[in-house]
Amino acid sequence: MSGLLVLVLYVTAFFGSYAILSRLLKRYFQRDGFNSLKTVTFGDESAVKANRIASVISILTVFWLWVAFTNSVIPLPKLPGPFQGDVSFTYTATLEDGTSDDGTVTVRVYREDIQQTLDSEGNPGKEPSAVDVEPGDGFAKNDSITAARYSFKVVNVWKNDDVSKKDGSKITAINGQAIKPGEKIKIPEGMIGLTDKGTPTFAPATGLRMQRLYLPAPEVVMQRFIRLNKEGYQGFTLWEHTRFSLQRVLIGFLLGSLIGIPLGYAMGLTNWARGWFDPIVEFMRPVPPLALIPLMIIWFGIGETSKVILLFLAALWIMIIAARSGVSGVAIAKVHAAYSLGASKWQILTKVIVPNSLPEIFTGARVAMGVCWGTVVAAELVAAEVGLGKMIVVASKFQLTDIVLVGIILIGIIGFLIDVGVRALETWLVPWKGKV
């Protein structure tokens, strides 16, 4: 239900913001001249560029939807929330002889995540006590209970009554409205019903927002982020978890490059090496690194060795293929030119073939780093002592969704930064890429 609502809101935001902004900022949105007729992209002649206003609004929309569907304190328009506070309803108990009496039930509805909140002194919140009520007259006495938001409570109204259920007291009406077992009555604050055996139940209204267990509010995730930095989780701070993951990726990738690039060169330069390694490379390339995790654990355990070897293997084939195609891609004219300028074979290798293969190697490095980063998280999910993947999988077992979210966001940001970093390195070291 609310999934459909998210979709509707998201699509509305997509078209709505375009409709509004394209009218407000007419000039920015206009495509002039020749380019306005282009609809297809052809390499660097691409007529379609990312509209950065759209990117900003896109991020804001996701953030707003996040806020709107949670019990966030951030003052943005939100969907109707769950009921919280005190509510009371009356019940009418009827005895077998036909006499009846009314009693009230007062429910104090409190935040379901009260124990996870902290007061100003840093102590966790406590569940509130029930409202004090007078027992009242008659055989049906007034009750007072507490209930968490999003919960469902069976209310034993006879607990303090003079006549119990066993003695023939039956609930016949709620708030003066007749009710039979199995029926329900809706009030703005929630849903009151009778079980099949006639015991009243109360479920506070949930609204359309998610409870913390499913989707913590942004500020909750932020607070968790700060706490993870200070206190850590599972004995390691957030930075240590991140560092271990990054360290594995870097070592695995560097080993993979260190072995893979020379192997790729060998495959690109000699028939023997090409023939020798071809079956292995072609066989191993389509095997997803994730499929190797179980084997790595069997062989090397769950420690650093198995992770590094896994990432080494993830990077190796990609780097071999990149280096190989970098070598094969050298224009024969360049090699001929170098020969007729008096270069030796070794000089051609170091001065022509290696630099010529750099663009391909950087493309490979970008892919390999991305694959390694994905693989390390997956490997940690399966088994690890420390690492971002390990952090989120343990947190999920304790239903600490905020930690899971911190982990996912961090994994995404780091993956993005790795790509940006490799690309920056590429423009610095291989400025001619794509220009010749």
């Binding site: 001929h336 291989v430 220009k435």
Partner: protein, 268 residues
């Protein structure tokens, strides 16, 4: 001095399906030092193969290449090569490209500096020494290629359609440059081209080759290259023999092309 002898060269390529292509058959030429010979011919006449054999990239099936009384056995710095395009090293600056030859020979940059800078001035790139290759236009890139070749001081310069990828105006300017460099350096040059005009204007000696098998069809001695040195090439085109020679050669190549087409059609 540097005499280049092409001695009865034949080149046969074996095809994977068992057949073969006779790319060159019994080609013999005697090229004197300082000669500028242009080579024309329809596609498939083996002119690039001939150049590659002279350069040492290909070993001929029969015959020998003899330069300065020594048999050619492979590529070497005494035969410089200028390609159509894409043979410059993008990871090096203009200056580094030009000093590549001296660098490979182990000559220190300090020693080669003067020569490199002089050559860059000669080809008109004095202000572009530290530029990257991809920042230059096509014509400027070919100037770098010429300078790079000359920096090695080769005995023979082999040009494989060096101006083929340039626009008409740049091409004309570059033709003048090639002539000037030829006269100034006195190098032996073999120039392969598709353009009859270019072959006429630049070739002191002009070789027309015929295809299947590739062979020398006709040879001309022309006055236009000498006239063109230091002069406006458009003036040269007004020479009384220019147009008639051009027509004659065009006619020759056309009939060869038609013959090929006819043969292909007949066989298919």
């Amino acid at each position: 001095m540097s005499e280049l002898l092409i001695d009865n060269i034949s080149m046969r390529f074996e095809l994977p399906n068992g057949g073969h292509v006779q790319a060159l058959q019994n080609v013999s030429l005697d090229i004197k030092s300082g000669e500028l010979m242009s080579v024309l011919g329809p596609s498939g006449c083996g002119k690039t193969t001939l150049l590659n054999i002279v350069a040492g990239f290909l070993a001929p099936t029969e015959g020998n290449i003899i330069l300065n009384e020594k048999k050619v056995v492979g590529p070497s710095a005494d035969r410089g090569m200028v390609f159509q395009q894409g043979a410059l090293f993008e990871w090096m600056t203009v200056r580094e490209n030009v000093s590549f030859g001296p660098d490979m020979a182990g000559i220190s940059r300090a020693e080669s500096k003067e020569k490199v800078e002089h050559l860059l001035e000669v080809v008109g790139l004095g202000d572009f020494k530290e530029k990257a290759i991809y920042e230059l236009s096509g014509g400027m890139q070919q100037r770098v290629a010429l300078a790079r070749c000359l920096a090695n001081d080769p005995d023979v310069i082999l040009m494989d359609e060096p101006l083929g990828a340039l626009d008409a105006l740049t091409r004309e300017k570059m033709q003048g440059l090639v002539l000037d460099l030829w006269r100034e350096t006195g190098k032996t040059i073999i120039l392969i081209t598709h353009s009859v005009e270019e072959a006429l204007l630049l070739g002191e000696r002009l070789l027309v080759m015929a295809p299947r098998p590739g062979r020398v069809h006709k040879e001309y001695r022309l006055p236009f290259a000498d006239l063109g040195v230091g002069n406006d090439l458009r003036e040269v085109k007004k020479h009384k023999d220019y147009n008639s020679t051009r027509e004659e050669i065009l006619e020759m190549i056309w009939s060869m092309e038609e013959e090929i087409m006819g043969r292909t059609e007949a066989s298919s």
